[in-house]
Amino acid sequence: ILGGRTSRPGRWPWQCSLQSDPSGHICGCVLIGKKWVLTVAHCFEGRENAAVWKVVFGINNLDHPSDFMQTRLVKTIILHPRYNRAVVDYDISIVELNENIEETSYVRPVCLPSKGQLVEPDTYCYITGWGHMGNKMPFKLQEGEVRIISLEHCRTYFDTITSRMLCAGYESGTVDSCMGDSGGPLVCEQSKGQWTLYGLTSWGSVCFSKVLGPGVYSNVSHFVDWIERQIYIHSFLIN
């Protein structure tokens, strides 16, 4: 996260770290249910095998396992069938954990938007992650406040914006996500104290350079139906 700040432990209990040996942290991810996590499809390019992955919850400092940390293996990776590498469209995937997490103050699911629930342009939301800060990779979880940008305005920066994407950030690019944040959450506070997931960090311009522009996120509202169906199919139909 560029232009953000270090988060207080427990502030984003749905944030998780998608890890694969020997690299360790590869991408961010988001807890949406006791055994269900969302992330982006491009994190699995070249590593489609579920066996090489693990998911870590309840940590703030990647380098210091905390008492509240929970680690799970990956049972199933469900990539969106329309994920398109060339223009990074339909960049979303669902991860089924090998067993339920235990809900604590430090490990909790975020809300999904209801069908058709969209976030308005100019709303202020938060992005979080352990990705590049422009000059180094952090150990501690970073958070940054970004503003939602309309798709029309976003198209003045990028010409491959589709309705499956959401743009957020600032013209000057001062607060933005970066490599290593992919798959992490863009959340907005709805009714008092309740946070909803509207975006998954997906792509943008080169974030450690002078190229400006907002960050581009997978638009979770567009995929709510697909997410709920996949969870239902894998919970009740595939046995």
């Binding site: 207080r8 427990g10 502030r11 984003w12 209990p13 749905w14 949406i32 249910g33 006791k34 390019e45 070249g46 329309r82 060339a86 223009v87 103050s105 430090y106 909790r108 699911p109 975020v110 809300c111 999904l112 010409d159 491959t160 959340v187 709805q190 104290g193 309740q194 946070w195 909803t196 997931l197 080169v206 450690f208 350079s209 002078k210 190229v211 709920e228 169906r229 969870i231 239902y232 199919i233 919970s235 009740f236 139909l237 046995n239």
Partner: protein, 377 residues
Amino acid sequence: CVLPACPGPCANDPNCEIPQNKTNCSQCEPITLELCMNLPYNYTHFPNYLGHRTQKEASISWESSLFPALVQTNCYKYLMYFACTILVPKCELETNQRIPPCRSLCEHSKERCESVLGIVGLQWPEDTECSQFPDEKSDNQTCLMPDQYVEECSPSHFKCLSGRCILASRRCDGEADCEDDSDEANCDCTERGLWQCPGNKMCIKHSMICDGFPDCIDELEEKNCSSCTQDELECANHECVSGDRWCDGRVDCTDSSDEWNCVTASNNISSLMSLVIHRAASDYQVCADEWEEDLSQWVCRQMGLGGPSMTVVTPINSQHSEPNDLLHLKPKWRMHNGSAFHELLLPGHSCESKSKISLLCTKEDCGRRPAARMSKR
């Protein structure tokens, strides 16, 4: 190869299962990187000159998106060719040797294009130090130089009439990227091998028609996609499945859509409604005989509403519902743990309690975080 029989250098040889190929296998592999599919050679050898061990790694590398973007700036005519000679180096089939680009090709690419990268704060990729490549004038080592047949643009580019290469995603995007606007000419769908949505001018690939995903306005490309008979129902991917297999707890459509939305219960307190099962294109209510709270949780979880539930048993209004409008729990339903709720139900039984189930499901709590810890100062 996945077989352990193919050690080290033979691991990438597609024929390594053939016994005599275990050791003296070919180390050349066909080029699969889309970016470099129009080179004057078809075989490559890994690792490449950027340290990538496989083509897969090269295809998701930083350089494989940097170079096509840089080619658009027209900084050097043979930049794409140079990029491919280091991303997917030529492999000499006879000798299994990797053939490098000549030093002058590297130096010309770097001289002309490195400064362009600097403008946007990027560096030339580290591993491409030109001194590592042979000097075609002095060394007698074979190296690659472009000839007049070399394609300046990759298959991932569109070539302007002026000769410039722009990314294919910029073709017909409504903005002229070529100096001569040629990327915005002949843009109607058919000329680009695409299908035009009725209503708006949007172009979609033919493969997107009747694929179960909405693209055009009003999902017009998903209409009239199947010819199901009278007693069949249409799956989301337009297959036809006989109506009596709809919501029977077993997946019949290849996309499993015959088992979606089979159960309806209310999810807000104001409109408590009967639990309804949509089976074989008819709606049924559920008899209250032997109902237990676990079942209410089961139904709600199946609908993605794992929060607290409320069950109400209501007498059957005999005027409005026929006995066979009711489904009854199977005996020993508990043995079906983990399957879909509607699989536990049978038609055609009498309902002793003459009552039906109404159910309210709620969302699990979510999106809350612990209050900040109070620490005295």
